[in-house]
Symmetry: D4
Subunit: 161 residues, 8 copies
Amino acid sequence: MKTWTIYLSGEIHTDWREQIEAGAKAANLPVAFAAPVTHHEASDDCGVAILGAEPNKFWHDHKGAQMNAIRTRTLIEGADIVVVRFGEKYKQWNAAFDAGYAAALNKPTIIMHQDEHAHALKEVDAAALAVTKTSEEVVEILRYVINGELKGYTDQQQAAE
Amino acid sequence: MKTWTIYLSGEIHTDWREQIEAGAKAANLPVAFAAPVTHHEASDDCGVAILGAEPNKFWHDHKGAQMNAIRTRTLIEGADIVVVRFGEKYKQWNAAFDAGYAAALNKPTIIMHQDEHAHALKEVDAAALAVTKTSEEVVEILRYVINGELKGYTDQQQAAE
Amino acid sequence: MKTWTIYLSGEIHTDWREQIEAGAKAANLPVAFAAPVTHHEASDDCGVAILGAEPNKFWHDHKGAQMNAIRTRTLIEGADIVVVRFGEKYKQWNAAFDAGYAAALNKPTIIMHQDEHAHALKEVDAAALAVTKTSEEVVEILRYVINGELKGYTDQQQAAE
Amino acid sequence: MKTWTIYLSGEIHTDWREQIEAGAKAANLPVAFAAPVTHHEASDDCGVAILGAEPNKFWHDHKGAQMNAIRTRTLIEGADIVVVRFGEKYKQWNAAFDAGYAAALNKPTIIMHQDEHAHALKEVDAAALAVTKTSEEVVEILRYVINGELKGYTDQQQAAE
Amino acid sequence: MKTWTIYLSGEIHTDWREQIEAGAKAANLPVAFAAPVTHHEASDDCGVAILGAEPNKFWHDHKGAQMNAIRTRTLIEGADIVVVRFGEKYKQWNAAFDAGYAAALNKPTIIMHQDEHAHALKEVDAAALAVTKTSEEVVEILRYVINGELKGYTDQQQAAE
Amino acid sequence: MKTWTIYLSGEIHTDWREQIEAGAKAANLPVAFAAPVTHHEASDDCGVAILGAEPNKFWHDHKGAQMNAIRTRTLIEGADIVVVRFGEKYKQWNAAFDAGYAAALNKPTIIMHQDEHAHALKEVDAAALAVTKTSEEVVEILRYVINGELKGYTDQQQAAE
Amino acid sequence: MKTWTIYLSGEIHTDWREQIEAGAKAANLPVAFAAPVTHHEASDDCGVAILGAEPNKFWHDHKGAQMNAIRTRTLIEGADIVVVRFGEKYKQWNAAFDAGYAAALNKPTIIMHQDEHAHALKEVDAAALAVTKTSEEVVEILRYVINGELKGYTDQQQAAE
Amino acid sequence: MKTWTIYLSGEIHTDWREQIEAGAKAANLPVAFAAPVTHHEASDDCGVAILGAEPNKFWHDHKGAQMNAIRTRTLIEGADIVVVRFGEKYKQWNAAFDAGYAAALNKPTIIMHQDEHAHALKEVDAAALAVTKTSEEVVEILRYVINGELKGYTDQQQAAE
């Protein structure tokens, strides 16, 4: 059976990734998850920590961002589905960048955000195959998309059999 | 040994998929099958069941169709061979859409339909590498294409040896 | 200035193509239109008329459909936008096939059909960037998309200047 | 001589596009510019203005964003260079989305923003071939990249000859 | 109006290319033709004539074949339609090679040969969209495919109007 | 360790495939071999045997050739290396077709033939990365390319250690 | 008639580009030439001259090299043929980089260098379709490849007619 | 868990590959390494050793370089990350060629060299996502990129938990 690879992009300050992973495990889905490095300071400083300090903040960021790109682009290109979550705070331009990157690669994308950001995210949403608010919804989508199981439908069928 | 992935697209009201799967199993073929969600109501309602109701039927359908696309496009792109069956009833435009999608990706396609639809399907057939009527024929094609076994030919060779 | 190439696929029994072309001309759009051969009998018989008769109807159709594919695939691949119209009658599987072909090539598609076919076409619509009912709407879309002109918006701006 | 196509993505509330176009014209560069529709209200409402009102704001936005995508994706794919400007205000997720889209297509990108956004844009900058602050810099880059002219270098050479 | 580029590959000892070009001109088709260098000795010796003699016949051939490939691959990749003619004599493996090259690039191909070679060419024919015997047929195909004109069909329509 | 997939195309009347497979086994190479169906009659008749007789020989061949293409194109696209052997007899246009197909996909190819065919095969050879005469040479190439072992070089190194 | 685009990469201290351009002009070839910026100091300093000084030499170089890449990658991707010349001096790693870039894009490449560098360049040469020493040879190749003219062959034919 | 494939290109006279492999093993990274054949004489002579001597040194080199290309291009195309090391000596044009090849395939690359070569390698560095000096740095990058572990950051987090 095919193992689906799901890349979880975007917001790193809440435990939405763990929720999705737990939900997928509970549902017994054949999935492997991938994500950017979510340790904020490590992600910011990886370039200079390994390759040497930069007095100029721009190159400090640049070295780190390029190093992170080794991971993120490889994993997005290898993903079957890309989920991108926009949190309540921050600019999160890297999340929108990942969504664009996935779109140009023709990857199915699922976007997560609250209603208040709907207008600002309309172009991103328009490139997505599903727009969600919660981790539970993402798990339900994965369960349906991968296993073909939909609460209130396929379970009733099984019950009836 | 390579496991061939076969995507079975199209008609969902008869048991042709089960017939092909049973035949492939009986023939011991190294194949993995993939298909759209074939539970009709689940397939129609998946979008609103998971992401919330839509008063407008068009968006009800749209949400469901996009969710199904997460599954179908991923599986078609991962398939070695795409089989598309056109049944006797309904418009089945999604089946023809899948055939076009597979053709543009240069996937070998096998089309199944009865003679009465031959003229209407001539463009679809012209893009296929085989046009068949029955599940048995599809199994025989898979058996020949994957294992190189052809009744009355390769078995006689074995008998003679 | 870029000339946009628009491929008009699908139904061949009404004058929707001429309507769009006339509308585009009236709006002075920098467009070039392309289409399949719309002479029904020529389209059916081209293969045998040029390359010799086939007693078997299947191969009669096959030869014609392959010859038409030389034209249609080349033009779809060269198009900036693909418009696919589904009429009231017939199976029109070739139209859905073209929509799938365009989708896999990541071409922006505009689908035209009446409401009664919305449910049957939901997968095709879900792959489109616009779903329309009339030639006028298609012209308005082209006018907006290509020239950035939108009635009641950009013309009022001009009037105000 | 090759005409270079430059797509100008992002912020729509200042006249940076006009500045670049004027500068390119003054420098006699063989360029053609392309851009999204920059009339804010037209861009928001195009979908419903042409294809009918939507009571639900989400679908109102969705129809418009998809229609805009017909234009923007076609033009980005046809561009030699993509310039993306992030202004001082708003989320501008569509700008970051375009940058990601261009990156996945391997298009050379030039990013414009002020220093205050440098950290938030570090992933976007890391995918760019130049990071700039002003329209003048973009014009100078185009002049160098396209015509091979660099103030203080190639002009002195000419003077010396 | 689009100019179609037609690459004429294969046999170089008869005037089939001139026949097709004359026919296309007579029919006023918007086409540009391309072909390998058809001067047999030049084609064999180009490598050593320009880059120096090779005592070993294998490298003599190799240098020439690589130089010819600069032309042929560039032109095949730029072609809308590839016509490959197999003559009565010689191995003509380069013709079959070109057909395979075009097939993998998903180019529409038209194959020309007499009946006696049909069995030996069955794999090549199976990858083609038309199989023909004469230059006249190729011209008729181009006329139909490009201009939509079919003798006995579209001309009668015009006559009736 | 990576398993290399080697596609063995071409001549089917001698046991060159078995020789290469035996040599690779003896050398303990991590390889999986793939090939067309090499049972001559099955390969010719597969189409009609499964899908029904054709009175016209051309369509008999066509049905078979298309069915074989399901296998051969899938396997060539999945191969790391394509070996194509030209025997002493027959036209073998399908072998040259496969070589062209592999070349357009940028697959490394190894061509096998005797000296007498060198001139006729010069274009095919020019697209190859190695030109060989015997199965032993092919095995030695695979051993070197995959395992980095070269008789008289790497074995002496080991002996000296 | 097709205009061929020729990218001239590599050594910038001799007038080999001008020689080729003059030769092509004298031979009346339908070609357009493209090249990197060949003003050495401008090429080194373009990044800091336009976007601001960098105290660190590495970033000084980096900004310039990225700016040059906007030009070079765009032009290599648009080229029909890539010519790469290795001079007598310097490391010239950018020339070898361009050759590798062109090879991965499947562009026909012509390599120019003197005999003394043949061994060091053997991998680069092995990816080329022609290896030359002089500008005259390159012009002769272009003349043959584009116009089909070969001294001592096609001119004698013309003389005889 | 995904196994990352790392291709180690370039300099073959020091043990940098072994250092990286040992470091990766010590860090328990899920990686598989690939490399060219690093036995210098075997790499030079493989072509003639297997396929027969060439009196002309150029063809001696050519045969070997093409045979090596069967290995190197296949492995680069299959790699997730390409590391290219430039040593202190030699021209190393094949290393720069590999870097260009990887860049055109959009592979993340890591370049290794000492400061003295920084200016000569500026174009190669500008296409890389990290520029390093030591094997230890490469291991640290792989550890961060693949496992998300960064000394002084993620280990302190674990310690604190």
